[in-house]
Every structure is written in C-alpha cells, then in structure tokens.
C-alpha cells in the first residue's frame, strides 16, 4: 500500500530530479550568502567604531534633502536612519525619546489652536536648527485634450478655495481667469491632502488663515472642526477630498494616471522627482511664480527669524507673514524653512557618542550639503542662518566643535559682501507671467521642458529679432550675469526665452516652442517641428561645451553659467547651480562628492561631480525607486521562500499526496 515500496522505479527516478534541484537551490543560496558577505565587507569597519548609529524622524517635506545628506555622510561612516513620518510624529517621538533628533517644519506647538494636545518639551532640552528651505508646491495632474497641462497658474484665493471645496471644477470662471491661455476642462477638482500630522499642512493653513480667513473659516465650520479653527497640522477633510500619508503618498497619488484632476500640496522636490508640474502662484506683485530654489531664496529674505537667543522656545523660528505680502515679483508666498530639532541634553537613548555623530552630521548638513540642495529642489540656507546653526550645533552634548570657514562651504547663497547671492541672481519673472491677458507656455518643475500650448490671444507678441536681448535682460541680477564668452550666456534652466518662444509658433501654431536658446548661437533658435522642444536644457554635450568656454575665457569659474546642463532633466528644472561645483568634463553640476572633505581644503579646485545626489533624487522619490524595491523584494522572496520550499517538496521521499 505504501507508494514508495509499491514502485521500485520511484527511488531511482527521484534522486536525479532532486540533484538538479538541489544544485539550483545551493546555487541560489551561495549567491545570497556571497552578496551578504560583499555587503558586510564593504562597510568600513574602522570608521564605524567612531560613530554611533543615530535615528531621526519627522518632516517628509524636507525628507529629500535630509535623505541626500544621509546618503552622503555614509562615506564618513556616519549611519543615520531617517523616517519621514511627518513633522508631528517627529516632534512627538523626540519628546518620547525614541529618536535622537527630529525634523519638523514648524516649532513645538505649546499652544495649538486646532484642538490638539499641547506639546511640552522640557525647557533647555532642545534647539532648533534650520536645515533647508523650500516651497510648498501644488502639484497637479491635468490634461486638456489629452495633453498634459504644465503651465497652470492660480491666485492664492483660488488655491484656498480649491483646498476648501469652494471651487469644485477646473473650468470655474475664477480659475479660467487665472489662465487666459488655457481652455480649462469641465473636470472636477480632487484636492489631495495629507492624512497624518504634517508641517506642510500647518504652513498651508497658516497661510490661508492669514491671507484668506473667510474662506478658511467657512471650511472649518463645514468640516466640523469649529470652533478650533487655528492653524492645524491635521487637515480637516470633507467629501471629495483624498488624504494620503506623507509627501510621497500625496505625490504618488497625484501622479497616477487615474488621478486626472487631482491637485496636492507637496514640497517642490517631489514634483521634480515624479516629473510633474506645479502651480504658478500669484504673488503680491501680480506675478505668477514657481517655487524654484532662487524664488524661494528671494521670498525668504522677508521671513522674520526670531533672534532672541535667550528664549530657546522661539529662537530661530520663522514668522512668514512678511513672505505672504512680499511685493518682489519673484516672491513665492508659500516658501518656508524647515528645522532639525537637536537634543541639548543627554538622556534616554541619547548619549554623548551619539551627540558627536549628530554634530558631525549637522555640520555637514549646514556646510557642504547646502551646495547641492538647489539641484534637489530646495533652497540653500543664507549665511546668517548657517552661522546661527553652527552656534546651535555647539549645544549638542558630546559634539566635537568644528571651526568651519564658511567660505569653504561653497554655499551658492554666500557672497563676499554678506548678501544672498542666490536671491540677488534670481531671474525676474517673464512678462507673460504677469497677471493679465498673457500666459507663458513654459512648463514647470518636473516638466519644465514640456511647454503647454496657449491660446493665440494669450501669446506674447515680441519681435523675434530682439529675443537675444530679451533673454539677457530677463536676467538682471546685479553684476551676476556676465556674458563673458561672447553671447554664451545661456538662459536659466527652464526659463528659456519666453518671448522668443511666443513669437515663433511652429507650423500649425498649436505648440509654441519655448525656444531653446543654444549657447553657441547666442540667440533664439526655434526648434523645427517643435513637438518636444528642449527648453533651456540644451543637450548635455552642447552645454558641456558652454561650461568649458566660460571657464577657459575667464580663467576662473564665473557665475555666468546658470542652468548648466545636467544629465537628468529633472535636476535642471529651475535649479540655478553654483558653477563652481560644475565639472568641466562631464557637465555635471552640484552635489557633494566623495572627496568633499579633502576638497574643502583646496578652494581653487573645482568640486567634482555629484552622481550621489543624482542617484538619490531619482531613486529616492520617484516611482522608479518603488518599482525597483518591489522587484527586489519579490526576487528576494523567490530566493528565500520558493526555492527552499520546492527543494523541500522534492527532497521529501515520502511525500503525502
């Protein structure tokens, strides 16, 4: 009755099958073990002893910047775990002592006005350190006749009404009035908000309450949140809204193909990462502005930083009401700083050894890391905040104080006279970005090089011959633009030459190209056909030549090269990159290289390329990263589960069937 004794052929056949399977299984296992060995061998054991692993949690708004820093300090043996679960969770877990530091867009809420419980950190146990700046951008997914809209403009009031359900469709007359060049579709608006406690939600509601109190108040009452209608980290939702966790959740949701009509608020860097456009927001000067790093730098000149050092509860915190009403034409109203909350007392799991690690990380973050933040979509810290932050770092217990010469930080905002170079150099908005009958076709953020066709009546009518001069006059920063190499001044990234583009519609006139002004021509060269013009991006080789030209002509790196070519178009988007960090050979700009430490000593040396940062942004926030993760997990599981399971089944001689 027993099958194994029944058939004498059984035992002879089975072992052969088992052998082949066994060898396959052994092969997979040895591969796994080998890869594990390689992974452990590559860890620099010598350095790892000096630093302790530290953990942080908080803002997902600033997570792309922190993640890039985190990856870059691994070369020094500093291992940091950062968990972007939202500012509120970061502050909460910092108070609970389960993380070593927190990242938060807003300070501790001692007196919250939204009905949530107050946060009460022990006095003198923490210090704020502004780590990066950026714009809270409105990323949207909208198509008109199948073509993705990339140049949407909205007034602040319309944004407030969209996120409070007062405006429900994209063809609302108020939105149409903002976009004379677009035929807005009769599609419903789906506001996508943050599900969990979030600093960007707080920034958004603070701005709404300051600028559009009536809109907010009526929403607050409708949502059932009243009477606690103060600024809140927890967005009240009503029917028709979607709430998602983290900037990643919001940006991923908006970028899905089914999410047409959706609009969500995320940090600008997430729009770059997912290759989606952002709303140009109307400012007090009457211009529709995109939150590029330069524009954010300009806006934050009006942020009031609390400099009363005697009160650590508020020291270095921001008052943004001046930003909301800034009349600079380049100002973006929802610009803000984001903070690290550093521990200033030993206690719980935090000790002096960790303090030393955190200190070194913080020094890196405030100095070297700032030079690459623009390429990620963040705005670098100005000099006064960097200096104040160095003082804050001293308060970390166990920190090894570094005496940093800030001129070696290669921070693009630093200028010898103490001003904010990045802000001074920020290009003025184009004429078609002014409130009125005109509308620029240029794309924004992640789709900066994809223009959107605008109605002929909304196109700028500028003489094509004057396009070259317009291009240079659009870059009026004091002394910054120096077309050294005979007309080689390239237009800023994504900026291109709008008027030229408007003046040279391609055949059919449907798609006015953004006139990718090639550096050598020195003027506008409308692309023939114009299906996908490369706005300002030029080609990597051509751009690389530009950098070379400038460097050769002046003998030293000059700052005329804005919008220098970078291999990844998402990185060029709006990023004015410090030319001193551009590699003349590869054309790669920005980014901290593996040799930053050594190179800081050599000022004359041009910092080398930053492939690390490039990789971080593309894998860290894009869908590609998630896909790769899934594939990896599936493959690993196949190796760990399926193969042994199969092997087990075949090895089992008395298999009960």
């Amino acid at each position: 009755m027993n099958p194994s004794t029944d058939s004498p052929a059984g035992p002879r056949v089975r072992p052969r099958r088992s052998r082949s399977l066994a060898s396959a299984a052994i092969g997979v296992w040895s591969l796994l073990i080998a890869s594990l060995c390689v992974a452990s061998a590559s860890t620099p054991a010598a350095v790892a002893q000096e630093y302790q692993r530290i953990s942080g949690e908080g803002s997902s708004w600033s997570a792309n910047a922190i993640d890039a820093m985190r990856v870059n300090v691994q070369q020094f043996g500093i291992t940091i775990d950062y968990n972007p679960t939202g500012s509120t969770a970061g502050r909460k877990n910092f108070l609970n002592g389960t993380v070593d530091f927190a990242a938060s867009d807003i300070p501790f809420q001692f007196e919250p006005e939204d009905g949530s419980a107050p946060e009460r950190p022990a006095p003198g146990s923490y210090a704020y350190m502004p780590i990066t700046a950026g714009g809270t951008a409105f990323m949207y997914n909208l198509r008109i006749n199948g073509a993705q809209v990339t140049n949407l403009r909205l007034s602040g009031e319309n944004i407030a009404k969209i996120f409070t359900g007062a405006i429900k469709t994209w063809n609302d007359p108020a939105i149409q009035a903002d976009n004379p060049g677009l035929n807005m579709p009769a599609r419903n608006i789906v506001p996508v908000v943050r599900a969990e406690g979030s600093g960007s939600t707080q920034q958004l509601t603070m701005w709404m309450i300051d600028r559009h109190p009536a809109v907010w108040q009526s929403f607050c009452e409708r949502s059932g949140r009243a009477p606690a209608c103060g600024p809140t980290s927890f967005y009240p939702t009503i029917s028709g809204m979607i709430s998602q966790s983290g900037d990643v959740g919001v940006s991923q949701y908006v970028s899905q193909s089914f999410a047409e009509g959706a609009i969500g608020y995320v940090n600008y860097s997430y729009a770059l990462g997912t290759q989606f456009p952002v709303v140009k927001l109307l400012n007090a000067a009457g211009y529709y502005v995109e939150p590029t790093p330069e524009n954010v730098a300009v806006s934050l000149l009006k942020a009031k930083i609390n400099t009363n050092e005697s009160n650590p509860q508020t020291y270095l915190t921001q008052d943004l009401s001046g930003v909301y009403t800034d009349t600079d034409p380049r100002s973006y109203q929802l610009s803000s700083y984001s903070y690290l909350i550093l521990p200033t007392k030993v206690g719980g799991q935090f000790n002096e050894a960790k303090g030393r690690t955190l200190g070194d990380f913080a020094y890196y973050a405030m100095c070297q890391a700032q030079q690459s933040s623009a390429s990620l979509g963040y705005s670098p810290m100005p000099v006064n905040l960097v200096e104040a932050s160095f003082e804050q770092i001293r308060k970390i217990p166990g920190v090894q104080v570094q005496d940093i010469d800030i001129t070696q930080c290669k921070n693009p905002t630093f200028s010898p006279d103490g001003g904010n170079l990045l802000a001074e150099r920020a290009p003025q908005p184009q004429a078609c970005d002014k409130q009125g009958p005109l509308q620029c076709p240029n794309g924004t953020a992640g789709l900066a090089n994809v223009p959107t066709a605008v109605n002929p009546s909304a196109q700028a009518a500028a003489p094509a011959a004057g396009s070259g001069s317009v291009a240079s006059s659009a870059n009026p920063a004091g002394g910054a633009s120096s077309p050294a190499a005979g007309g080689a001044a390239t237009p800023t990234a994504g900026g291109a030459t709008p008027t030229a583009g408007g003046a040279t519609p391609t055949a059919g006139g449907a798609t006015p190209t953004a006139g990718g002004a090639t550096p050598t021509a020195g003027g506008a060269t409308p692309t023939a056909g114009g299906a996908t013009p490369t706005a300002g991006g030029a080609t990597p080789t051509a751009g690389g030549a530009t950098v070379n030209t400038v460097l050769d002509a002046s003998g030293a790196p000059v700052d005329a090269v804005t919008g220098a070519p970078v291999v990844d178009p998402t990185l060029t988007a709006g990023g004015v990159i410090d030319p001193t960090t551009c590699d003349p050979d590869t054309g790669l700009c920005g980014g901290a290289s593996a040799q930053v430490g050594q190179q800081a000593a050599n000022a004359a040396q041009v910092a080398s390329a930053g492939p690390v940062v490039t990789a971080t942004l593309r894998n860290g926030s894009g869908w590609n990263g998630s896909l790769a993760l899934i594939v990896l997990i599936v493959l690993l599981m196949m190796a760990v589960v399926v193969v042994p399971a199969m092997a087990w089944r075949y090895f089992a001689v008395e298999h009960p069937t």
Binding site: E57, T85, G86, T88, A89, K92, N93, G115, S116, A117, P185, A186, R187, N188, V190, A195, E196, G197, G224, A228, S233, T237, S239, G240, M241, I242, S243, Q244, S245, G249, Q252, Y253, Q256, S257, F258, A259, E260, G261, A262, W623, S626, L629, I630, I633, V634, M637, V641, V642, A645, M646, R649, H655, T657
Partner: protein
C-alpha cells in the same frame, strides 16, 4: 444509538466514564523536562494573550472612562477634543473585511477543491507551494502592489459595477458620473472596495489552507462509495466533500475574516481615511481600526494614545470572538462529527 443496537458489550465495561489508563512506566528525567516545557509553553501562550488583553484594557481605561458608552456611538476621532468613537471606523473595518471575504471565499474554496479533488498529483504540490507562498508575501508588498499597480486596474471594475448596479445602494457612488467623459476616476480610488480586493488576496491563502486540510480528510470510504453508486465527480463533491468539510469551510472563512479585520499596512497605504459612515463600498474614502492606529499612534498625545488603545481593545475582542468561533468550527469538522463514518 445505532452503535448500541449493533454491538452487545458486557455491561461492566460501559459503566462510568472512560478513564485514561494510568501511565505505568517510571518517568525519566527527559520525560519530566519535556512535560514541564510543553506545559510552560502552553501556559505562556495563555498568559501572553491574557497580558495583551489586560494591558489593552489598562491603557484604555483613561479614554473609555472619559467617554463611556458613547465610544461606540461616536463617528469622529478627535480625542484631544474629547470627542471620539469607533462607530465609523469599526463599520468601515467590517465592510473591508466583508468585501475581502466575499471575494476570497469563492476563490479559496475553488482552489482548495481543485487541489484536493481534481488536480493531477504533480500540479497539486506546485499549487500547494504557490498558495503557501501567497501567505508568505509580506503585507507591505501587497500594499505597494495594491496602491500603485492594482488600484488603477480595479477602477475599471468599480466603474462597471457602479454603472450597472449603481441602483443598489451598496454600489452607488457619490459624485460618479459615468456618462461624462470628463468625470474623475478618482471617486473610485482609495475605497473600501479597493482595500477589500487587496486584503482578499491576503486572506485567500489562509482560507484555502484550512479548507484544503479539511477536504483532504474526507473518508476515502465515503468517497469511493459515492463513486460506486454512480456519482459524477461534482456529485461526489456535492454530497460527500462539501458536507464533510462544512465546518472547515465556515471555520476557514472566519479565520480569514479575523485576519482581514486586523490587516493594517496594506489598508493604510490604500485608503483615504474618512470618519463619516458610508456604505457605498466603491466610493472613495474608507477606514479601519488598525489603519487608524498605524496612522495616529506616532503623533498621538497621551490621551490620544489611550483612545487608540481602546480602539485596539475593541478590535482585539472582535477578532478574539471571530477566531474562537472559527477554531470551534474547524475543530468540530476535524473530529468528523459531521460525518456518518
């Protein structure tokens, strides 16, 4: 009764309850150690369960003491304002679990029947491995898969159901406008249904395993008997396998329900949380107790945490009841009580 009619036994052997034969041999040291260890493990399991329940109750007394019975009748979740309850959250949790079970039940039952009754021997072992593998996939992978890959595909199904069966309140969707080409597909996303479909994929294996186990215990005699009386394969399944496995089917389904109720991360990644009760399963917005805890625990105040513990306690009790009922059914089935054999 029939047994007594057939069998004549000496009266003294039927007196009293049957008693276990005393263990005659001397217990060696290893036997003693083994007995102790197994006893302790058994006690530990009970103790841990008890400790979990005790801890949950202890932590939630603060919140429950403040709101009392209204905890069950309040929909909103604003613990810091003293206004919170699990009415909506629990409703959505049960809805997601029911959707999941409704989808998983036919699939798992058909798979179990196919594996036990129909599949050739070679295919059988592969299928068993594959179903086990489905159970081994971490739920975060299901979450990623559901949120990013499957959600876009389910929308088509949701829209179809809504278009043709929207007159049933369960399938109607506020804001849906199937006739309008510019209508938003987003009204079908992040819904109870999408979450339910993903959770179905996660509970399917456990249901399938339980059912397969029970089906494979069908007495071969009865099976052969049915065939001998001229039953087709389906006829045999209908009159022998299914009645015999009834306890396993119910028990396995309820075990799946228990798991579906507590599923966290996949649901968390898919749904857009809402606190107004809606029975429109295709409509955007849903909630679940475990997803609520995952979303809020990191940022909750002390009192908020206590409120979350009360929500956890309610889920703990519900899953406890569901799982005990399920295992009771499964145990009955395994004893062969349903069978005439």
């Amino acid at each position: 009764m029939t047994a007594e009619l057939r069998t004549v036994l000496p009266p003294q052997e039927r007196v009293g309850e049957p008693e276990p034969r005393p263990f005659a041999g001397r217990q060696g040291r290893s036997d003693k150690v083994f007995t102790r260890v197994t006893f302790l493990s058994g006690v530990a399991v009970l103790a841990i369960m008890g400790a979990v329940g005790f801890f949950l109750t202890l932590e939630s007394t603060d919140a429950l003491g403040r709101v009392g019975f209204s905890f069950l009748t309040t929909s909103v979740w604003e613990p810091d304002r003293g206004e919170f309850g699990i009415k909506a959250v629990l409703t959505f949790t049960v809805l997601i679990a029911l959707v999941a079970v409704a989808i998983a039940f036919p699939i798992s039952m058909a798979t179990a029947l196919f594996i036990v009754e129909i599949a050739p021997r070679r295919v059988k072992s592969w299928l068993v491995s594959l179903v086990d593998l489905m159970a081994a996939v971490p739920s975060v992978v299901y979450g990623l898969w559901g949120a990013f890959l499957m959600q876009g595909q389910v929308i088509g199904l949701s829209r179809w159901i809504n278009t043709w069966f929207g007159w049933i309140p369960l399938f109607s969707v506020d804001g849906a406008d199937p006739g309008n080409p510019l209508s938003n597909a987003t009204v079908y996303t992040a819904s109870t249904f999408v979450a339910g479909v993903v959770v179905a994929m996660m509970v399917m294996p456990i249901q399938c395993v339980v059912m397969r186990e029970v089906f494979s215990q069908v007495p071969p005699g009865e099976r052969e008997g049915a065939f001998a009386l001229g039953a087709t394969r389906w006829g045999m399944i209908r009159v022998v396998t299914l009645p015999f496995g009834r306890g396993g089917i119910i028990g396995g389904t309820m075990l799946g329900l228990g798991r579906a109720l507590g599923e966290t991360i996949a649901v968390y990644m898919i749904i857009s949380s809402r606190f107004d009760i809606s029975f429109h399963v295709l409509e955007s917005g849903s909630n679940s107790v475990s997803a609520l805890i995952a979303l809020r625990y990191a940022e909750a105040s002390d009192f908020g945490l206590s409120a979350l513990f009360s929500a956890g306690l309610s889920l703990f009790l519900i899953t406890l009841v569901v799982n005990f009922t399920a295992s009771w059914f499964v145990a009955r089935s395994r004893s062969g009580a349903d069978s005439e054999a």
